[in-house]
Symmetry: C2
């Protein structure tokens, strides 16, 4: 038995106190936890308690010499830290104590401290000069269970789809030549179509299951096969088939929908023009009605008015063409018309010119092209006339009188595509994170001079900070997109609100994905740069997602205008008139002044509390709504034209769009977590939510500080908590990325 | 003549006051400017002066109805705003006034206001409901002159090189097949070598000019041809030839240097191993000295110990191989040995195995490969022994006794390569910005309902904010890298300081470039995604620059350790011992408390003043140095092992590394600007510096707010100034990117 100056009661507390003070982990709420344990511990003498209490005064920390002494006591004990113990620090403390006294037994109070403080081996394993039996990851959470929670309503379809993808045609390979890549992707699309996956969202009568939510859930898996497949599939079944389904009448469904779903009719979605991408309302292609022939003449008037970037353009026999509909000399606005492109020998029809868009940064398995129409005549029956058509007498008829409203109603039916784009981007982030995390669990580099083995990348705090908050946000956005698709699926009639919501969410999620994949590439160093390790392709394939199906910058402005008008704006209009009309009545700053106690509240309970995250994000949303509205109103009052007033506040509007989307995502995520039954997994999801929420607040910390919402201390505490949560979640990193449930047969990166 | 309620004296001031109040441009310093002009204007009556003064009280702004009245006066005048006038607002004001009175003459005081406030047509052209004759760009600055300033010492070589590149072999084309791409790039390298460009940095005796600065200046132009060419050129002449030049003795120079410069001897630089990239000191390849044979046996001991990502591996006949040198059973540390790889028929020599690394995200014209050595015997003469060799008796000899010092001295000679990597990355940013800015000067999208023509992208504030600060930073970094190369060229012996500086600069500049190219891709929408428009390739080719030639995360930690040790640390050592030794003596926080008046000073003169930028960046550097040093010291005091103390503060060290690099870049840039003779161009360069400086401060605003260095008002003012400077520089955007002087024959993007 070796003697120390510490009593047998105090001894097992030494490692705990060492960890706490060496690493500065002590905040007020944590002092509470330890004090309570000490008070309830009957094995302690009154003297012991006094001594332990004296080490718990934050204002008067123990002397360095005392702390160093503790370290010596620990080192001398030669105890081994075994990370896989149920209570590793308590078990270790017991071993330390037993070196000096035989009577030290397991201490339930120390177990309580360990649990309540949430301190984990990777917090302290390096603080001791002792042998450590590492546990590189925890098996507490089962990936299968996580998957079940994430995909709860569609798990059967999703699992069946994963199984279906396990066949040779879906094996990933490097194909540099675009023609070969396109052939393969076309073949894959046909295989999927034949098994009914393309038609999933269409009504049963046409070979589907009428389930767009399920469609969206299987969709993201295509990204794991190949980004080009995801996009080509989306174009054929979502955009082309979807336009027939949503914009067409029953006669169109009867004639085309089943063939579209089976991919026996290949089609494209010709909306964007070289001259007009973001400004869809400004497209120049015309469709002129000729009453005598009951025909529409589709025409490309000028040099930059051709359709461009049209996916499936080289394989299609038909296109849904968006054009200004001219009836009896009057422009009725943008409508969609089915225009045959090629004959049965795949020869381009008269008046149609199609050119390949050539090689792109990514998605080279998708045949994007340009299309020109030279006075192409089609039957008026080809007008997709669900929202506006031409009657037998040659009169334009629509149930929606207001042309603005008609336009956005037509576009509103295409919101599902935008959700799928965000889902595709997020799938890219998931796969990249799975690869980067698994690599970081194997790859070692640098070490302490005294050790033989180098350290795992995942054990570097900087590596945790670059990957783990992104894993957390991926969980949040996954749940948010499931919710968005559900909201869209159940929405009826006026879809302005969900359209606004999706506009903003698509923007923040695709940007998040681009940044995440970039981070993963860099986190894998040179290995991440090799095509064989998949991240490179995911990066290039998803890159366009930030600017197609709505440019993110434009979408955020739509979201902001939606907020300003209480989602009543016809926000596809350039004139902002409805926003302005509504502005006058709605401006009010209902935000209470922030209590200084609140703006400096830094305890763990508060910082991890969903209420705090929701409050902070909502505060930003409301405050920015008020300030931007005030600015616009002031410009208008001074006679500045309204279009210019919006331009003047453009960067402010972009912030508002982001703030709205951030607040919405957090709200929807916590609603999802609330519904999770299993308490243990629910706790994990709350932790991920906290890390996401604090990361977003941190990202906007300068604004919160400017507003006085955060005080300096709290702002610093949030930074520290982001780092600490990343460390706390580190043992679960492997399980978390396994929870994305990317089928093993598709995860072919040699580095993992 | 139409009558108004405003006197003839007051009338010409109306547009000025309208601009100022409609757009909230009035800060205290600006009130001063206007007041002064009003006082000196003898055409004004005392009543006029009183009235004008009454409109200059910031606390009591003119009523909205008054401001609206001004707008009416302006609109009714039917005056035309001609942006290309010398003083467009003054000229316009005169026209407005002349509509109401015939006697109104040019007003020199208004010209003064216009000049002193720096208000430009794109600030106010949209505020009036009048006809505007737009000037989409200003011709005030000549790109040729900018080029001369940026490349002042090497302009002759640079211009001659640009001319040389104007030949068919350097035309850009899409080549998807790596073999074909590699053949072309090899051919290009040979053409350059034959004309002497490869040897530029070598001594005259060996076909060069002994000018590494000139070499670096021409180097960046290769990126405009093709990223692969830049890298392949750098490997052959910079790394392989450079290793012979720097690490070898005269006999190596005599035997190999001319052939390397002529590319008749192709070589590679085999340092990185699969198992060891960042941790070079830990590489496993061995070179064992056999005294009896005067030979070295080069060997790959284990599975992951092969060389990897070695550029030029498939074309080379020789490699500079880095290996642990074992002499008489003692490891003398990492040394470089010339190892022949292939015979005259390009057949791999016995014991050598080389494999292709395959397709990568970019740089597919570079033949990266893996190399294994199986007991490969070479003469001891092949040891590059400038810093350490083996004498006739088989004893190891070095002028540098300390093995750590020897290691970093050897690596230090390779700093030039790291500068070139940063230059290559920045060239990618330059070309992308040139494309994106020129596109934004042509591309129109959306408009006011009352206008026929849509607006130029470049006229959107959000577009200005995404591109123009990046143009400004590109200017800063260009000057900084020129300076770095100069410092390196003139450094002698101990290169620790410049190595530290370059480590940090390489990290921030390559990250900046990656972010900039990404922003440019998105700013060009779908067009940016097409390979033909070049940004896509620049993006993929430069992506690896953030993690090769030193991983940025590792480099920033080197920089931080350099700072902590006053650049005396042997910072390639893992043990941090020298840092720790020095820490004790150096910790002192000499930062004076920030005066509240300073932390809320928001006038234009102060915010645009280089002194403010330098002070703020230096404050951050000193404060972070102090806080991280204190944290490390506290850990050590409590007995935490030193390696762990560094790990614990890792994210803090990364911030310190960035802060150091930011401060250094700003300092070097302003030193460069100070030397510029032409006052007009100097003024422009100061404006770019201000935009860069404020952007960096803005990026770290949350930290500055936490520290109390910035008050809320100042922080907001900085945000506004970043936006305003971007707008102020917008008329010069085209000239600024033309100032990068990318040869027209290489700027082949069809969108511009």
């Amino acid at each position: 038995m070796v003697s120390t100056t510490y009593s047998n009661g105090v001894l097992p507390y030494i490692p705990f106190f060492y960890v706490i003070w060496a690493d500065d982990l002590l905040s007020a709420s944590e002092v509470q936890v330890i004090k309570k344990a000490v008070e309830s511990d009957h094995s302690l003498t009154p003297q012991d308690k006094t001594r332990l209490r004296s080490w718990l005064v934050r204002e008067k920390p123990p002397k360095d010499s005392e702390v160093k002494n503790w370290q010596q006591v620990i080192t001398d004990s030669n105890a081994t830290l075994i990370e896989s113990e149920n209570y590793p620090l308590e078990a270790f403390s017991r071993k330390v104590a037993q070196f000096y006294c035989d009577t030290c037994a397991p201490n339930v109070h120390l177990q309580e401290i360990e649990q309540n403080l949430g301190i984990q081996p990777n917090h302290y394993n390096h603080l001791f000069n002792v042998e450590v039996v590492h546990q590189t990851y925890s098996e507490r959470y089962r990936p299968k269970e996580i998957d079940r929670i994430l995909n709860r309503n569609f798990i059967a379809d999703v699992e069946s789809f994963r199984g279906f993808l396990n066949q040779g045609i879906f094996n990933w390979e490097i194909i540099r030549d675009k023609e070969k890549a396109r052939d393969k992707v076309l073949e894959q699309v046909k295989v999927l179509a034949m098994d009914g996956w393309g038609a999933l969202a269409y009504p049963k009568t046409y070979g589907g299951k009428g389930n767009i939510e399920s469609y969206a859930s299987i969709f993201e898996h295509l990204m794991y096969v190949d980004g080009s497949l995801g996009v080509k599939f989306g174009v054929q079944f979502g955009l082309f088939g979807g336009s027939i389904h949503n914009l067409g009448s029953k006669r169109h469904h009867d004639q085309y929908l089943e063939a579209a779903g089976k991919a026996t009719l290949l089609g494209c979605f010709a909306m964007t023009e070289t001259g007009h991408g973001s400004n869809v309302r400004g497209i120049k292609t015309t469709a002129t009605y000729i009453h005598g022939e009951r025909a529409l003449v589709v025409h490309t008037p000028g040099k930059n008015d051709n359709k461009e970037y049209i996916g499936n353009a080289l394989h299609s026999t038909m296109a849904t063409v968006f054009a200004q509909l001219l009836v009896d000399g009057k422009n009725r606005g943008v409508h969609a018309i089915l225009v045959p492109l090629r004959d049965e020998n795949h020869k381009t029809l008269p008046g149609i010119t199609i050119e390949d868009n050539g090689y792109k940064l990514g998605l080279n398995g998708v045949d994007n092209g340009k299309i020109w129409f030279d006075q192409v005549k089609v039957s008026v029956e080809n007008l997709l006339d669900n929202y506006g058509g031409i009657d037998k007498n040659g009169n334009y008829r629509s149930n929606i009188k207001n042309p603005n409203k008609r336009f956005f109603t037509m576009l509103g039916t295409l919101v599902g595509g935008r959700i799928c784009v965000a889902k595709g981007a997020l799938a890219g982030a998931k796969m990249s994170l799975a690869i980067a995390v698994n690599y970081a669990m194997k790859r070692r580099q640098f070490n302490d001079n005294i050790k033989m083995q180098e350290d795992l990348l995942m054990d570097y705090p900087s590596h945790q900070l670059r990957l783990i908050p992104k894993v957390a946000s991926t969980y949040v956005y996954h749940a948010v997109l499931q919710k968005a698709m559900h909201e869209y699926a159940v929405s009826e009639g006026d879809k302005r609100k969900i359209e606004t919501q999706v506009a903003g969410l698509k923007a923040i999620i695709t940007w998040f994905s681009t940044a995440t994949i970039q981070e993963c590439r860099e986190a894998c160093g040179g290995k991440g740069y090799l095509l064989e390790n998949r991240i490179a392709d995911l990066k290039n394939d998803t890159d366009i997602f930030t600017t197609f199906e709505g440019d993110n910058t434009v979408l955020l402005q739509l979201a902001a205008k939606g907020v300003l008008s209480g989602f009543r704006a016809e926000f596809n209009s350039g004139g902002f008139i409805s926003v302005l009309k509504l502005l006058g009545s709605r401006i009010s700053d209902k935000i209470a002044t922030i209590n200084p106690a609140y703006s400096n509240k830094v305890d763990r309970e508060h910082l991890y509390n969903p209420k705090f995250h929701l409050h902070a994000l909502d505060f930003r949303l409301r405050r920015l709504t008020y300030t931007v509205a005030m600015r616009i109103r002031n410009y208008i009052k001074k006679g500045v034209p309204s279009y210019q007033a919006f331009l003047k506040t453009q960067t402010h509007l972009l912030e508002l769009g982001k703030a709205y989307s951030d607040a919405l995502a957090m709200k929807w995520y916590y609603e999802f977590v609330k519904e999770v039954d299993d308490k243990e997994y629910q706790e994990l999801l709350y932790q991920l939510g906290a890390l996401h929420g604090l990361s977003i607040i941190r990202k906007n910390a300068s604004w919160y500080l400017e507003q006085g919402y955060l005080g300096s201390t709290k702002s610093k505490a949030i930074r520290q908590r982001v780092e600490r949560l990343s460390t706390e979640l580190r043992p679960h990193a492997k399980a978390l990325v396994a929870g994305f449930a990317i089928p093993e047969h598709l995860m072919t990166a040699p580095i993992i």
